[in-house]
Symmetry: C2
Subunit: 378 residues, 2 copies
């Protein structure tokens, strides 16, 4: 059998404040088109369907419509799990009815032990879970994620049918993977990672959680990556889906083309606002500009936004009066004053004027005074 | 055919801060028991399934489990609509899958024109809608709710099968009905009401929105009322469901017994805290006490709560120094001072002490000063 592996849709996610719903709708249509063209027998979605546990009404509508199209209209079986961004309970509403049309949406650890068989393949759907859920399930007080995973895989192996292939669908950080900026670290200090050895015995491991398809390079375990770029750090990623044939189990990558790409460009302000220059560019992209200018540019962001509506940010690659600035920055490092000025510079690409600095000083002094008064009062 | 008419479940609603989830779970089980005993062919739920457009995870879980039990386990067809408290989009997630097992959950005006036929009866499911939805649907700019309803009923009549009975399920205020305290008024000034004449031609109109089963008394249109008392004003209501047989169309009322009833009692503080007295009482009820005492009672609420865990409130029927109080109240009526003092008295059953009055005066003065400063600054 053949299946498509995707994940980390993060429906409802915003990119630097920009709404991505229309991009997400469009990219799901592309995924569906690949599924049709590749004649797959199932679509695997490896968690983080939504970006938030309480998604907006618009996000709910988009995902619901996507499922209707994929499962009810095009009749693709869906094998999906909840990720760390999803609310398991909210997502699973309606699940027992979905099962009737081979739309399997697993959100609880206990569901993972009963494989779903399609053709020659057994799919084990293991949603994201917190260690506490495993401790309750196995009635053991001190299980780490790694302990829990050992027990889970062992229990799954009891259901392995040697005449079939085994695929694990899950949503965790596999040790040795590389991260990017748009992922939420679940725990710190490596407690959240699963050793690769634990999942070695599966014919294929369809992973979700990390947003780059290259996050992990092993023979049988792969992240699908997100279908869209969700951070600047992903600007050079190629987004897409994997197509896996259970006979070869060598995943084949199929590219997705976003409606609005994330790109960076180093240029002078003068060229960016020159029609001869910008008419050659795809101005609908999410642009991040690295300005080569050193001088003050009045009303810079407004001028740029008038031409490039989706600017992610602007930085100066040749800072003005660099030595002086550096000295000041070092003096002020870690003070509220420093954080506010550098935030302002990062966002606007401009330094505060003398007047603005004065206002900031006054505001900070007032805040300090108020805090002191409140402390004295208690 | 026979059906059960209920509505206004308001899953997730709190009563004076008390969580009602366990009461709601239990009362749904009673509704299901009546459906089984009465061998009905369908269960009609006339809107306001949830209390809020974004219900809590616990509320989602409760309603989802209820639907699983009613529709998937006990195989009852469900005919449900969204009410003004529900988010139509959130509630309708999964709807096309529900249809497969005769669970019809209509949340859009346009769905109401296709009747659902069960046995000898046509059910028209008209969810709560805002006038703007009707204006868009009929492409007419100035429709009032009443205009819209005329057009809707007219359009429904085109599908009337004269060999069948017609039932309308909807969620509005029908003119002439009487309100109680736990309902949310949708609009003011009577704009939200539907004249009874418009729905006269249906064999039965299963209404939701008002919480008393006696809110409307007509031959063919009835509110089911809420299954639980959601306000003190409902203390004397009898809650239950209607059972309707399409042959007679005379609704038969079946009572529900809440786990914790809402009750009031007039008594002295001394008797309320006397074991000989309170051991005779159902102390799990939601009690509202009308104290006959005139003197100050120290730590009154804590003493009462230790005995009656679910107190809704306490009032003094013989206010202390009534003449003086009344005079003061009249002087202060509608001032923030008055609202705060009467709120405090209503909640605690005690007047503010001199010291507390002083604090309140100071606090209000500070608020006024701050507001003035801010106005001056702008």
């Amino acid at each position: 059998m053949r299946f498509l592996h995707t994940g980390d849709w993060h429906i409802g996610k915003k990119l630097h404040g920009y709404d991505l719903l229309s991009d997400q709708k469009e990219i799901i249509d592309q995924i569906l088109a690949i599924a049709l063209e590749q004649k797959v027998d199932a679509i695997v979605i490896a968690g983080d369907l939504y970006d938030r546990s309480v998604p907006s009404v618009e996000a709910c509508e988009l995902l619901n419509q996507a499922f209707i199209k994929i499962n009810l209209e095009k009749k693709f079986p869906i094998l999906a799990i909840s990720g760390n961004h999803d609310s398991a309970v909210r997502l699973s509403t309606g699940m027992p009815w979905y099962e009737q049309t081979n739309f399997h949406l697993y959100t609880e650890l206990k569901q993972s032990f009963t494989p779903i068989e399609i053709g020659d393949t057994q799919f084990f759907l293991l949603p994201y879970f917190e260690p506490i859920a495993a401790r309750i399930y196995f009635a053991e007080e001190h299980l780490t994620l790694q302990d829990a995973m050992e027990k889970i895989i062992e229990k799954m192996q009891e259901s392995f049918n040697s005449g079939k292939k085994q695929v694990l669908v899950t949503h965790f950080f596999v040790a040795g993977s590389s991260r990017c900026d748009s992922e939420t670290t679940i725990e710190v200090g490596g407690l959240d990672s699963i050793p690769y050895e634990l999942v070695r015995d599966f014919d294929y491991v369809a992973l979700g959680h990390l947003h780059s398809k290259n996050a992990l390079n092993t023979a049988n375990a792969r992240y699908s990556g997100s279908p869209l770029k969700f951070s600047l750090s992903e600007k050079d990623d190629q987004k897409g889906v994997w197509i896996i044939d259970s006979q070869s189990v060598v995943p084949e990558f199929h590219e997705l083309q976003p409606k609005r790409d994330v790109r960076t460009l180093q240029a002078s302000f003068e060229s960016l606002v020159d029609p001869a220059f910008y008419q050659q560019m795809d101005r609908t992209c999410f642009w991040y500009f690295q300005l080569t200018d050193r001088s003050v540019i009045t009303n810079m962001m407004n001028q740029l936004r008038a031409i490039y509506p989706n600017i992610l940010g602007v930085e100066r690659v040749n800072g003005r009066n660099e030595t002086n600035q550096l000295k000041k920055v070092q003096q002020r490092k870690n003070t509220p004053y420093h954080m506010l000025t550098s935030f302002f510079e990062e966002i606007t690409g401009e330094a505060l004027t003398e007047k603005q600095r004065l206002w900031l000083d006054e505001g900070l002094q007032q805040a300090v005074d108020t805090e002191k008064r409140e402390e004295d009062a208690t």
